[in-house]
């Protein structure tokens, strides 16, 4: 995409401007998009220890029927709630959006930093505060055993009288505010600070993905904030939004939550689309096929994503007409998503592909996302959802798109951009091993959950009828393999930072033609202070 034509190059970007901040101030007070990006990645990694740790405890408990180590089922409910919240808000979002977005939006659009660097910093620190608050909620006040969906009445004052739910609510409030500020920053940067010549239709697809994601954040999170506020006042100040005894309605919460929640799932996957597009094009040594279609597919997924929320509520007792509408609207999303899948395949078609680790992950993403996507289409049919809602089939569906696809995208981005971020190359052989271990692990972990769902195993239970034992055991085995994969990744990361060979400015060759590969590796503290000038059409859009 967007080739630069030798107007500006890495050598201009040497870090010679006297003082840049050092020591702890550099990190605590940072107004530098790269440092803030790094902070986000570190936060995601720290949070993933907790999130993955909790999931391993859950799988350990579920490995066999009966209770293994959990006495009180409430504890299990707390684990799964914290697991869901942490993974969604403090692992995937900070990594994909805060981490890669901060690092690469300025680098790829050719500007020196984000539009509002101080606001960028507070976005990060507020996310950290959110993480502290959600962690507090699991240890103080008995823990929130509400599920990440926090449905009242279970989450109201009667059934969760402790402080935990309030901490969880405020955690999401704060993390949400952070995301809204981040979204304002991203959109302003992309709209206002593209290098001369980089028109919207010359932006790399990763930038398009960030733009769409930021709009989803901007418009979806305030609705969650409103919902959380109502829950907070219901719990503590005697309002009755979700209280039937006062004329309120618990279903109203579900509307608000999913009006946010469904866009939220695209918030987690659209950045992944962006990363995969860059990587597929780089390693195929081909420009992206159907660039405009790819960009506008993301835009339309974003739009339609706002009007499908009630497919999470097929069993609450809507009339048929409502359900019929939500079936149709939901299924429509398969069309733009299909455009993306086939355009990636067409990008690879005719390419000269090198199967480096990022490319393996990108291809793994494409395939396994299709698997998770089509089970989404199954669920979107309300009649079939009567068999699957709140069973492990749903768990399988969304771990395929989240814990597999979105997580693969994190790994894709990490391997792809690690040389740029750290200046060092990872060990390719270990990387490939890590891919295959994770591939086996997550499939053994999540595929059998489809079977459990078909046989009717409900989600959110710590103990299950004995007949479900077999596949649960397999699934837990898969969790162990996945854990090995994750640990290996962290080893590779450590190994790269310590022993990795020095990375050239562009380690990936001719395919990597976006702006970030024109600056040195590691990217200097300040980049693009002399604005690059873009003269080429986005490679391949001969419209």
């Amino acid at each position: 995409m967007a080739d630069t034509h030798a107007h500006a190059h890495g050598h201009n970007d040497h870090a010679d401007h006297g003082h840049h901040p050092t020591g702890w101030r550099r990190w605590m007070y940072s107004t530098n998009h790269k440092d803030i990006g790094t902070l986000y990645l570190v936060l995601a990694i720290v949070a993933s220890f907790v999130g993955v740790g909790f999931s391993m405890m859950m799988r350990l408990e579920l490995a066999e029927p009966g209770l293994q180590f959990i006495r009180d089922q409430h504890f299990y409910n707390v684990l799964l709630t914290a697991h869901g919240l942490i993974m969604v808000f403090f692992v995937v979002m900070p990594a994909l959006i805060g981490g890669f977005g901060n690092w690469f939006i300025p680098l790829m659009i050719g500007c020196p930093d984000m539009a509002f660097p101080r606001m960028n910093n507070i976005s990060f620190w507020l996310t950290a505060v959110g993480l502290i608050l959600v962690a507090t909620s699991t240890v103080i006040g008995g823990g929130a055993g509400t599920g990440w969906t926090v449905y009242p009445p279970l989450s109201n004052h009667t059934f969760h009288p402790g402080m935990s739910v309030d901490f969880a609510i405020l955690s999401l409030h704060v993390a949400g505010a952070a995301s809204i500020l981040g979204a304002i920053n991203f959109i302003t940067t992309i709209v206002n600070m593209r290098a001369p010549g980089m028109t919207f239709h010359r932006m790399p697809l990763f930038i398009w993905s960030m733009l769409v994601t930021a709009f989803l954040l901007l418009l979806a999170l305030p609705v969650l904030a409103g919902a959380l506020t109502m829950l907070l006042t219901d719990r503590n100040f005697g309002t009755a939004f979700f209280e039937p005894s006062g004329g309120g309605d618990p279903i109203f919460w579900q509307h608000l939550f999913w009006f946010f929640g469904h866009p939220e799932v695209y918030i987690m996957i659209i950045p992944a689309f962006g990363i995969v597009s860059q990587v597929v094009s780089t390693f195929s040594k081909k420009p992206v096929f159907g660039y405009l279609g790819m960009a506008y597919a993301m835009v339309s997924i974003g739009f339609v994503g706002f009007v499908v929320w009630a497919h999470h509520m097929f069993t609450v007792g809507f009339n048929v007409e409502t359900r019929a509408y939500f079936i149709i609207a939901t299924m429509i999303i398969a069309v733009p998503t299909g455009i993306k899948i086939f355009s990636w395949l067409a990008t690879m078609w005719g390419g000269s592909i090198e199967f480096k680790t990022p490319m393996l992950y990108a291809m793994g993403f494409i395939f396994l996302f299709v698997v998770g996507g089509v089970t989404g289409v199954t669920l979107s049919n309300a009649p079939v959802d009567m068999a699957f809602h709140d069973t492990y089939f749903v768990i399988a569906h969304f771990h395929y798109v989240l814990s597999i696809a979105a997580m693969y995208a994190i790994f894709t981005g990490m391997y792809y951009w690690l040389p740029k971020m750290s200046g060092r190359m990872y060990n390719e052989k270990l990387g490939q091993w890590q891919f295959w271990i994770t591939f086996v692990g997550v499939n053994v972990l999540f595929f059998p959950q489809h079977f459990l769902g078909m046989a009717g195993m409900p989600r959110r239970i710590a103990d299950y009828p004995d007949a479900f034992a077999g596949w649960n055991m397999v699934s837990s085995g898969g969790a162990v393999i996945s854990l090995v994969g994750a640990l290996l990744f962290f080893y590779i990361l450590w190994d790269t930072l310590r022993n990795g060979a020095k990375a050239p400015a562009n380690p990936w060759g001719v395919g990597a033609n976006t702006l970030e590969w024109t600056v040195d590796s590691p990217a200097p503290f300040h980049t693009h202070e002399v604005l690059p000038v873009i003269t080429a059409e986005p490679a391949g859009s001969h419209h």
């Binding site: 009180d72 089922q73 409430h74 409910n77 449905y151 279970l154 059934f159 039937p244 004329g247 618990p250 195929s284 081909k286 420009p287 069993t315 609450v316 007792g317 048929v320 019929a324 079936i327 299924m331 299909g338 455009i339 899948i341 086939f342 355009s343 395949l345 067409a346 690879m348 005719g350 390419g351 000269s352 592909i353 090198e354 199967f355 291809m363 494409i366 395939f367 299709v370 698997v371 289409v377 199954t378 009649p383 079939v384 009567m386 068999a387 809602h389 709140d390 069973t391 489809h450 078909m454 046989a455 009717g456 409900p458 009828p465 004995d466 007949a467 077999g470 596949w471 490679a539 001969h542």
Partner: protein
């Protein structure tokens, strides 16, 4: 010594086998070990549901295999060794139209039976009887509004299970319902949201405080047996411990069960049916 141990072993084996066999004869709708498909379908709704699911399923398998096949082909043909010089093709109008239009067509093919099934499964057309289901933390109560029977149904704790009873699935008072009868199910909750789900019936409905939800079922006489389900909405600590067990019996057996049940459980308190009728027409604040 050795002998007696063998005897014991055989005895255990035998009782397990008879339990399993007798279970086979009666229990139709329980999960089976290593099950990877739906439980037995007992209602026309579930029969259609499985049929429809299979339709989507095979369409989706085809899509997944198609993508996988393309990727395999790409890996073989377009790796750097096999194809050192990449093409620069980035457009093909025909393909782009095709991969937009064909998914649309596939979705239309899915949507039509989907909507038909949706309307079919929605509500009973000519209900012959009504079962009112109320959820509590953490048990179910059932009201036979036509005959005025009401009782609670609790899970049997593990240490009180009799041989052949299923852990986490069997209950002290099963719901008994007649075969060949169109039954209307009305559901609500006393505290938090629960979900009354019996897979073999194709019924899965949230029970929401302040609302009355409706579903229905009819089980043909050749599907007489016991069906199990579990609460399917997180409802607190004992969410895993509020199973559902339904005995489907012949109409005659049902009548004799009713007679018994009337003495066993006693009648509803006087105001309850009134409450219900009011609630059906227009649920209002007073109905709660």
């Amino acid at each position: 010594m050795i002998n007696s141990r063998w005897m014991l072993f055989l005895l255990v084996l035998f009782s397990a086998a008879t339990a399993a066999l007798s279970a086979d004869a009666q229990v139709v709708g329980a999960p089976q070990p290593w099950e990877w498909y739906f439980r037995t379908a007992a209602t026309p709704v579930q029969v259609d549901l499985i049929w429809f699911h299979d339709l989507i399923f095979w369409v989706e398998v085809a899509i997944v295999l198609f993508v996988l096949g393309l990727m395999a082909y790409i890996v073989v043909k377009f790796n750097a060794k096999a194809n050192p010089v990449p093409s620069r093709t980035t457009h093909n109008t025909f393909l782009e139209v095709a991969w937009t239009v064909i998914p649309v067509l596939i979705l239309v093919v899915i949507a039509i039976p989907s909507l038909r099934l949706l309307f079919f499964m929605d509500k009973a057309k000519n209900p012959e009887m009504t079962l009112k289901i109320t959820s509590h933390q953490w048990y179910w109560s059932y009201e036979y509004t036509d005959s005025g029977i009401a009782f609670d149904s609790n899970m049997i704790p593990e240490d009180q299970l009799k041989p052949g009873q299923l852990r986490l699935l069997d209950v002290d008072n099963r719901v008994v319902l007649p075969a060949d009868t169109e039954i209307r199910l009305l559901m609500t909750s006393e505290d938090v949201i629960h979900n009354w789900a019996v897979q073999s019936f194709g019924v899965r409905m949230d029970t929401v405080p302040g609302r009355i939800n409706e579903s229905w079922m009819i089980v043909p006489a050749d599907k007489i047996g016991t069906y199990y389900g579990q609460c399917s909405e997180l409802c607190g600590v004992n969410h895993a411990y509020m199973p559902i067990a339904v005995d489907i019996v012949s109409k005659r057996d049902f009548q004799s069960w009713l007679a018994q049940a009337k003495t066993k459980f006693g009648r509803l308190d006087a105001d309850a049916p009134v409450k219900l009728v009011q609630a059906e027409t227009q649920p209002s604040l007073d109905a709660r």
